[in-house]
């Protein structure tokens, strides 16, 4: 990160703990912050699209040191694209997670809401699902199965 962003907080973590959105938001709120866009994903107990099925729980695992490095890269890409973004939090929860549980969070703050925070958060979650090494195994009433991603990294996905 360049000096320009020195005072802008960037949080990234892989954790087994509950996501505390109030606390994460407070950590990326600065004196000049007036807006935050936050995305969270949850475990669906019931999926209707594509291949409809029920889920008992998901088991998440991560290649932790690489996942942290790639989260940092996602944050840096966001700052390059939306220099008005102030704070960024990227958190992936791992372990056994049941339906309705928030599993992932991307939050971006800025002075004003019309400076790209929504787009930045959307970009962050899309990018996390491409390059951050985390996988989930789905356990349903009829057995278990690894969820297949479909993005193959390219040389441009290195920082």
């Amino acid at each position: 990160m360049t000096d320009e962003y020195m005072n802008y907080p960037t949080i990234f973590s892989i954790t087994e703990a509950d996501l505390d959105i109030n606390d994460l938001l407070a950590q990326i709120t600065l004196t000049g912050t007036g807006a935050a866009a936050i995305f969270t994903g949850m475990v669906r107990g019931e999926t209707r699209r594509d291949d409809p099925h029920e889920t008992v729980y998901l088991e998440y695992e991560a290649y932790v040191p690489m996942a942290e490095a790639k989260m940092k890269q996602v944050a840096e890409e966001i700052r390059q694209k939306w220099p008005t973004v102030e704070g960024i939090a990227i958190v992936q929860r791992v372990g056994r997670l049941y339906p309705k549980t928030p599993t992932v969070l991307i939050a971006c703050t800025a002075a004003h809401r019309d400076t790209g925070v929504f787009e930045a958060a959307r970009y962050g979650i899309d990018r996390l699902k491409e390059i951050v090494p985390v996988w989930k195994k789905e356990v349903g009433p009829g057995g278990e199965e690894w969820v297949e991603g479909d993005y193959l990294p390219k040389p441009k996905d290195r920082p």
């Binding site: 290649y63 992932v104 390059i131 951050v132 090494p133 996988w135 991603g149 993005y151 193959l152």
Partner: protein, 82 residues
């Protein structure tokens, strides 16, 4: 010969039956060649190799990349977090 460590995640760990293996490989071995060496050791991984993702020292690597001494290599399926 170079000593390296290879980590397996998700389906690849299940199929290899191990989380990691220490290997000795010839100097200048490419990722493409390493995949073949690993499949020789773990034939169950053969059919995962078309869509495997490889990292060297926690950064994406590609077939022509050379695996350096003491590398931490990881082999895993396309990511599915979130």
């Amino acid at each position: 010969m170079n000593r390296i460590k290879v980590l397996f995640f998700a389906t690849l760990r299940d199929r290899a039956g191990t989380k990691s293996v220490d290997l000795e490989i010839p100097a200048e071995t490419t990722v493409q060649r390493l995949k073949n060496l690993v499949v020789d050791e773990y034939p169950g991984l053969k059919e995962t190799m078309d869509t495997v993702v490889i990292s060297i020292n926690r950064e994406f690597a590609f077939d022509e990349s050379v695996v350096p001494e003491n590398a931490e290599v990881a082999m895993f399926p396309p990511v599915s977090g979130g």
